[in-house]
């Protein structure tokens, strides 16, 4: 198809650079400088989608970010699919592949349209709430069908092949928008010596000047834009960002910018280039120069393709050299929109009429139209549109002076394009993001930014001052104001001249009346993307929704990907009228980040795949990998889980590891345990306050186990702390709890007991820790050290400095397995060396590496708890049967002491940790299973506690478990039952959690 709507000359496109693109499977041609929308219009493509609810044909309405209909799926391959791209913002490139998002099976022949035809009565607002609510279990099914039918775009099913970036930026002045106001603000701020960032969502700076024939300083607007842009680009204090949407304005002047780097070049970013960049900006001052969106009028069948906003018509003609039709009817409430008809006429196509809702329009623009012989129908409105896939004609009638009803007879005009303008809506989105509520301005007929606590200035159309002259002068003022606030001198900048065309007063009108009442008139659309009609809003008000926020949610107005940029103000005006209120009384909904949709890739940047979250490795990690260890995530650590040999199942590996440790010697990489170095003359006193047991008399060279409680008395961490010197201790914590414990210690030291002299340093990463455990562990250690590690010289819960494998080491005789154990700590860089030496000498003892799972089994055989697995923040030491670890006689009321004495904490029937032996020793209870005393009790059965730890013990040849049972410590030998999801009821006997060597003889050797 030829570009039948393309003008021979004019516009900012390059006719020497034709580009081929594909839309819905067909090839078209456009030019460099086109957007996808302008190229489609040039080719006479009317239909770009189907509407969400009624599946009505829809065409391009606008020319910028506010476009509600032309929402495209882009991508030549599966991996490069991008949903929900506004065709009006996508620059054309050669090879671009686009498809309409809505429409099933396709936009031309849409079966869902049948629903739409009869849907007038079928789908009122709240339709989904009312229809698909019951039964609730079916909602997921309904939703899938609705989505399939509606088509909301789809995400790619393959990895994004492109790379994305993030950058942190700081500046004195952040200017949002590079139209006449933004450019002047940036120019003044830059000349005054401020560090400036100026961003604009379009490919070129200039804003409104790019799509009008206005002059600035006596030259074409675009020429003035080019000279200012050149100066800004040459200034090293200015960062100039085109194709960059300021998407969010957050607290304390923090802004996010989505810069599209290569999306105008190709389907994929050219080799090595970044597709999009996310700027995180902290600005001292922000100048919002975001302009305004033209507001369409609401009239019957105003969604037929060919109905556009007036300014978009001018933009397509002046900027892209495209006249999107042959016969235009313009409906307007103001002078400014006359430009659209003048531009249309001057492009050589027919203007059927300008339908002006005002009784007596006057002024230079009105005169200009009449001079061209264009019919101006005053006091009238387009009350209805004919046509289905393209406008074929309009119905015009005179209306009352307040615009509330049709007063005259209906006259039909032929037309294929209807442009409408109800005035302008300032783009207050960003100013809303920080919580500021916009306020109504009668003279602007729009909401303007309200009070803010941000360091924020505004300039131009966002303030409701829509002329270029106002934009230039307010921009200059904002730039100078920013300099003053920054303590910088005023800049030398002359205010450029612009031709001031006087305009007569605009009429505040939103909703065009019909001969029939709204509820019976053809659909009058307010929000195209969500198919919200004037009748729907009135119905919502009749049904009792009075708050505009509720009306919004009930009708779904403004809930599309366009956030209601075009329709919201009209919707509020219609609601206000239905509620007999003024617009300021009705108020407005506000907007949220992001201003326009942003690709996830840009938010993620490089923080994906292996860089998504940091991983921590011990010094012996390489060895574990070489031995084929399976890993488990513990916090950010990768810990060996178990070490399977070829052909072994997990359970077989665990059985082998458990037996080898108890029969000879096993080795665990325990480097990940948290280690906190504590020093200071009050260190001992401090330990006594944060642990539940006594620390006053722990001598140098000794280790002690401690429980750490919260103020409510509940256990939150545990570990062994060793006395290294009179004022020097080494505390160990659980692997996952290390950071939390350190913060906890600092919190109490800094806020409660600053008078104590004590210092905390995390040394977790400084040490490599390897635990050898089992009857042969002493023999193995003796081969690597000259120190005397005999029973008499190195007792249980002692620690000693010594040399191991030629390396200085701290060795702790502590045990988490119940076996004779030595925990060898060496400087992390020596870790692998010592580990390998242990294996060199350990081969003859069948030294067996084991991971976290075997560690869990071995400790459970001994009834040792794991904080976080056998505790959950609701159990105190006595619940755990660990009263021996509480010293109630300490002089200072340690953390948790008072909490444990609360009424609820001393109940006899609290859930208590006990051992559980299944009557059938082969059944391993699932962890988390809930116990009951009476399995025949009616449902819901009273539950008495859950299983916290459960394993197969190869050493005992049976299953073992620990769990909570109400009053369990007094119920030894009694039965508890576990009804499982598969219908089985497992019977278990309550027992001591110490399943093996209850007297501790194995470690006492």
């Amino acid at each position: 198809m030829s570009q039948k709507n393309r003008l021979q000359s004019g516009g900012r496109i390059d006719r020497s650079k034709p580009l081929t693109f594909t839309y819905n499977g067909k090839q078209f041609k456009g030019f460099a400088g086109d957007t996808l929308a302008s190229a489609l219009l040039a080719n006479g493509v009317d239909l770009v989608g189907r509407s969400f609810k009624y599946s009505r044909p829809r065409g391009i309405v606008a020319a910028g970010a506010e476009e509600p209909n032309a929402i495209m799926q882009l991508g030549a391959t599966e991996a490069t699919q991008v949903p929900n791209v506004r065709a009006t913002q996508q620059e054309l490139f050669s090879g671009l592949v686009a498809g309409s998002t809505n429409g099933w099976p396709n936009v031309e022949m849409d079966l869902m349209g049948l629903v739409g035809k009869v849907g007038g009565k079928m789908m009122p607002p709240g339709f989904y709430y009312k229809t698909f609510m019951y039964p609730q279990s079916m909602w997921e099914t309904y939703e899938k069908v609705i989505r399939q039918a509606a088509g909301l775009g789809r995400s790619p099913k393959e990895y994004d092949p492109d790379i994305y970036d993030k950058m942190n930026q700081h500046c004195d002045v952040m200017v949002v928008g590079a139209g006449p106001a933004g450019l002047m603000a940036a120019l003044a701020a830059a000349r005054g010596g401020a560090r400036v960032i100026i961003a604009d969502e379009q490919n070129e700076f200039g804003g409104s000047l790019l799509s009008s024939k206005e002059t600035v300083d006596g030259k074409a607007g675009s020429a003035w834009v080019a000279s200012v842009t050149k100066e800004l680009e040459a200034n090293e204090n200015v960062l100039v960002l085109p194709r960059s949407t300021v998407n969010g304005y957050h607290d304390h002047n923090f802004l996010t910018i989505h810069q599209r780097m290569t999306e105008h070049l190709a389907d994929r970013a050219p080799n090595g280039q970044v597709r999009a960049r996310y700027h995180r900006v902290r600005a001292k001052w922000v100048v919002l120069a975001t302009g305004a969106h033209e507001r369409p009028l609401v009239f019957a069948n105003n969604d037929v393709p060919g109905v556009m906003v007036a300014n978009a018509v001018s933009t397509y003609i002046n900027r892209y050299g495209v006249v999107p039709g042959n016969e235009l009817v313009l409906m307007t409430t103001n002078d400014n929109a006359y430009h659209a008809a003048l531009d249309w006429h001057d492009a050589g196509r027919k203007v059927q009429a300008i339908v002006d809702t005002r009784k007596n329009p006057t002024g230079p623009l009105v005169d200009a139209a009449r001079e061209r012989g264009i019919t101006v129908m005053a006091g009238s409105a387009v009350i209805d549109v004919q046509g289905s896939k393209r406008v074929s004609g309009v119905s015009v009638a005179s209306i009352s002076e307040d615009g509330s009803k049709v007063t005259g007879s209906v006259k039909k005009l032929s037309a294929d394009t209807v442009a409408s303008s109800g005035g302008w809506s300032p783009v207050v989105h960003l100013s809303c993001h920080t919580g500021s509520r916009p306020v109504w301005d009668d003279s602007a007929i729009g909401f303007v930014p309200g009070k803010t606590v941000q360091q924020q200035l505004t300039a131009g159309a966002i303030n409701g001052h829509y002329t270029t002259a106002d934009a230039l002068s307010e921009g200059l003022q904002a730039g100078q104001d920013a300099l003053e606030k920054l303590g910088l001198a005023k800049a030398e900048v002359a205010l450029p001249e612009s031709a001031q065309v006087s305009e007569s007063k605009a009429m505040a009108l939103y909703h065009i009346p019909h001969t029939k009442p709204t509820s019976q008139a053809p659909k009058q659309f307010v929000d195209y993307q969500n198919d919200v009609t004037a009748a729907g809003i009135e119905l919502a008000c009749r049904e009792g929704f009075e708050s505009i926020e509720h009306v919004k949610r009930y009708t779904a107005m403004g809930f599309g990907t366009d956030q209601g940029k075009l329709g919201n103000i009209n919707g509020m005006a219609i609601a206000a009228s239905a509620l007999n209120q003024t617009i300021p009384d009705t108020g407005t909904t506000i907007f949220r980040p992001n201003y326009t949709p942003i690709t996830f890739g840009a938010i993620v940047g490089r923080d994906c795949k292996e860089l998504f979250d940091p991983e921590r490795y011990s010094a012996m990690h390489k060895w574990h990998l070489e031995q084929g260890a399976k890993f488990e995530d513990v916090g950010q650590w990768k810990r060996p889980w178990y070490f399977p040999k070829a052909g072994e199942s997990m359970q077989e590996a665990l059985n082998r590891e458990c037996l080898a440790t108890r029969e000879s010697v096993g080795i665990l990489d325990a480097s990940t345990l948290g280690k906190i170095d504590i020093q200071g003359k009050d260190a001992r006193e401090f330990l006594g306050r944060v642990y539940s047991n006594a620390w006053a008399k722990l001598p140098v060279g000794k280790c002690r186990y401690g429980l750490m409680l919260k103020e409510d008395g509940m256990v939150f961490d545990d570990g062994v702390t060793s006395c290294l010197g009179e004022n020097h201790f080494l505390m160990t914590t659980t692997t996952g709890g290390a950071a939390g414990v350190l913060t906890w210690l600092e919190l109490y030291h800094q806020t409660e007991w600053p008078e104590l002299e004590v210092y905390f340093t995390s040394v977790t990463d400084h040490w490599a820790t390897m635990t050898i455990s089992g009857p042969n562990s002493r023999k193995l250690l003796e081969e690597l050290t000259d120190a005397d590690v005999s029973k008499d010289n190195f007792g249980f819960m002692d620690w000693k400095p010594m040399t191991v494998a030629g390396v200085p080491a701290r060795v702790f005789r502590i045990s988490f397995t119940g076996e004779l154990s030595f925990e060898i700590n060496v400087q992390a860089n020596y870790g692998l060396h010592v580990w390998e030496k242990l294996f060199e000498h350990g081969a003859k003892y069948n030294l067996t590496p084991y991971g976290t799972e075997t560690m869990h089994i071995l400790r459970a055989e001994k009834g040792f708890i794991i904080a976080g697995q056998d505790t959950d923040g609701s159990v105190h030491p006595y619940d755990l049967g660990m009263g021996w670890a509480v010293s109630m006689n300490k002089p200072f009321s340690f953390i948790g002491k008072r909490g444990m004495k609360r009424e609820d904490c001393v109940r006899a029937d609290r859930k208590q940790l006990v051992g559980l032996k299944t009557v059938d020793p082969n059944i391993v209870l699932p962890e988390g299973a809930q116990g009951v005393f009476d399995p025949t009790a009616p449902i819901p059965m009273p539950m008495v506690g859950h299983v916290t730890s459960s394993y197969w013990s190869a050493n005992l040849g049976r299953s073992i478990a620990m769990g909570f049972v109400k009053g369990g410590l007094e119920k030894m030998g009694e039965k508890v039952y576990y009804p499982l999801v598969d219908g089985r009821v497992v019977e278990a006997e309550i027992c001591s959690p110490i399943f093996l060597d209850p007297k501790g003889e194995r470690q006492n050797v």
Binding site: H250, D251, R282, E711, D712, T743, E746, S893, R902
Partner: protein, 93 residues
């Protein structure tokens, strides 16, 4: 995202470096054992949730690890002042 002045480092830093620890000036009773259950419950659990000025405890977690206090408007998110532990706020209602 907040920009917070750390009174120990003497610099403005991004919120990412800090953690909030809730209401400030909650003193641990000097003699917990003489507290009634109600008094202890109030100390442990009961906190203000004002719309407006709030004195909060923050820690420069990814910085100097020091705790300090912030007076913040919970409606506008304005930070009115920061001050060290042991000091009293100057901005009060």
């Amino acid at each position: 995202m907040f920009l917070i002045y750390c009174p120990h480092c003497g610099e403005h830093r991004e919120e990412e470096e800090f953690h909030n620890h809730g209401q400030a000036h909650i003193a641990r009773p000097l003699d917990p054992d003489s507290c009634t259950d109600e008094e202890w419950g109030n100390y442990m659990f009961f906190r203000k949730n004002p719309k407006g000025l709030h004195h909060e405890l923050w820690v420069h977690a990814a910085g100097c690890r020091k705790f300090f206090n912030v007076t913040r408007n919970t409606a506008t998110y304005e930070i009115k002042e920061v001050y060290k532990i042991g000091e009293q706020p100057k901005v009060v209602e």
